[in-house]
């Protein structure tokens, strides 16, 4: 039976854990930024990770964003047909994808795929003493393990988002042109007339931060694994859940910021 004292103690512990988690993320971010210019640069590790994270994520990001484009076109058509305004489907698909869905969906896919992988990999390295071994061999684990993942996610999430936006718009185009009989040129005109640079910028700026969040949370959880295989499993779950929450929360923050301060 939980006593009132135990109940408050649990709440207190959770609050302390929450703040120590954030403090850990901030500390790791600072350590990572400090280590970026440290030598040896190890550029090959950046390309290795970019290949793993970017190129290997491309098929799944493309597939999902294509479906999102199709779904968006169909759902919009449901309303627009009632108002005989089908031509606006192109505008809605383009704006929704570039400003919101493209960046967020890409970040969530990369978090689920690469973020979880990073936590599991670093967690396994931590419990098998490979991280300790790195240190005894004179390598800084943050420089060797975190920096290349941090940089490649920061670069690759925006790059993947650009492709996701384009493929999503193409999905919408297929539905509009071949299912709803909107002229191809009209759809393209409506898409590019509506889109302004701000839509692209605001979408892409967010993704830089999404990439950083995925890298820092995944590496933090991985490097702090305790307790063998079970610990790795728990850390991986925690990493994905925390990254999802932080991506959505920061998306809300950036959307509000751009809405109020970047007219």
């Amino acid at each position: 039976m939980t006593t009132p004292r135990g109940f408050y103690a649990t709440i207190g512990r959770r609050i302390v854990n929450f703040f120590s988690f954030f403090a850990g993320l901030v500390r790791l971010t600072v350590q990572t930024l400090v280590q970026i210019p440290a030598r040896p640069l190890g550029a090959y590790r950046f390309f290795e990770q970019s290949n793993k994270i970017g190129i290997n994520s491309f098929p799944i990001v493309s597939l999902v964003s294509f479906f999102i484009g199709v779904i968006l076109a169909l759902q919009t058509a449901y309303i627009m047909q009632k108002m005989s305004s089908e031509i606006y489907i192109a505008s809605i698909v383009a704006v929704s994808l570039t400003r919101e869905l493209g960046p967020v969906i890409t970040a969530l896919i990369v978090a689920g795929r690469s973020g979880a992988g990073i936590t599991a990999e670093l967690g396994t390295m931590a419990v098998t003493e490979q991280v300790d071994a790195l240190q005894t061999l004179g390598s800084n684990p943050i420089k060797y393990l975190v920096v290349p993942r941090f940089l490649s996610l920061t670069v690759m999430v925006p790059v993947l988002t650009v492709f996701a936006n384009a493929i999503g718009i193409f999905g919408g185009y297929l539905i509009a042109v071949y299912r709803l009989s909107i002229r191809s040129s009209l759809y393209m005109n409506m898409t590019f007339q509506t889109l302004v640079y701000k839509d692209l910028y605001t979408g892409l700026i967010k993704t830089i931060f999404f990439g950083m969040i995925i890298a820092i949370v995944a590496c933090f959880e991985g490097l702090n694994v305790r307790g063998g295989a079970e610990g790795v499993g728990k850390a991986t779950t925690r990493s994905v859940v925390n990254t999802f929450i932080l991506i959505i929360a920061s998306d809300c923050f950036f959307t509000a910021l751009f809405y109020f301060f970047w007219e």
């Binding site: 390295m125 098998t128 003493e129 490979q130 071994a133 240190q135 005894t136 061999l137 004179g138 390598s139």
Partner: protein, 260 residues
């Protein structure tokens, strides 16, 4: 000047006093074996020497230099002088055996690829392995992993080698081969070694001196023969592997620094 010196080192981990004013001296060229039950702080002692851990109080000195005061290049230099062979090998899964062994040369010393290849081959030959450079660690047996880990530790020709449970988890024949290897490397490379183990056969075979760690302190130290015939009840119970005795009765802090 001793090669390694731990002075009055204390370390508390998660509320447990693992090391309690522990002192230890290892002379140059000596192979010192630290024995003790699992969880008594043997590996923690090694981690203090390479500064993977820092003591709550006390000092750790290697070649007379305070390890805790070392930073940047000096710390890297210390790491190059000490080879640590981890219990499970701690080989990097994503790298081949050759890349593991030549890791420091490639990452930190700017050695030419041809020279790295040569040094890797030499180091692997020293531990009795040939033509395994392209094999991934996952494809090696337990004993081979330990040998590769040892080859990685000696690749920079360190002055000190620390072995964490080198014979744990391998069959008796492989264990004996590893003991011979420790002896051979000691003779060939003239290194100072600390071997942490609870395997008494291994301890007798490789040690110049044996120290027993109990309740966070060294409670007895001597040559293998002195330890073998020690009247200290704690040492006696441990080396004979008796289930009953002062260690398992939970007695504490009675004996210190004596071999009767």
């Amino acid at each position: 000047m001793p090669m390694i010196e731990l002075v009055d080192v204390s370390k508390n981990l998660a509320g447990k006093q693992v090391l309690d004013h522990m002192s230890l001296i290892v002379e140059e060229g000596e192979t010192k074996v630290i024995i003790g039950r699992s969880g008594v702080g043997k590996s923690v002692t090694l981690k203090h020497i390479v500064r993977l851990m820092e003591p709550d109080t006390g000092q750790v000195r290697v070649q007379g230099r305070d390890v805790l005061s070392l930073k940047g290049k000096d710390l890297s230099e210390l790491h190059r002088q000490i080879g640590l062979v981890f219990q499970g090998g701690a080989l990097f899964d994503s790298l081949t055996v050759g890349e593991n062994v030549g890791f420091v040369l490639r990452e930190h010393m700017g050695t030419k690829p041809v020279e790295i290849e040569e040094r890797v081959r030499e180091s692997l030959a020293l531990v009795g392995l040939y033509n395994v450079e392209q094999v991934m660690p996952a494809d090696l047996s337990g004993g081979m992993k330990k040998r590769v880990a040892l080859a990685r530790a000696i690749c920079t020709r360190p002055k000190i080698i620390l072995y964490d449970e080198p014979t744990t988890g391998v069959d008796p024949i492989t264990a004996d081969a590893i003991n011979l290897l420790i002896d051979e490397l000691h003779d060939k490379l003239k290194v100072t070694s600390i071997v942490v183990t609870h395997d008494m056969r291994s301890a007798y075979k490789v040690a110049d001196r044996i120290a027993m760690l109990y309740e966070g302190r060294i409670i007895a130290e001597g040559t293998p023969d002195e330890m073998r015939y020690s009247h200290n009840p704690y040492v006696h119970q441990f080396i004979t592997g008796a289930a009953h005795g002062p260690i398992t009765e939970g007695q504490s802090s009675i004996v210190k620094n004596s071999i009767d």
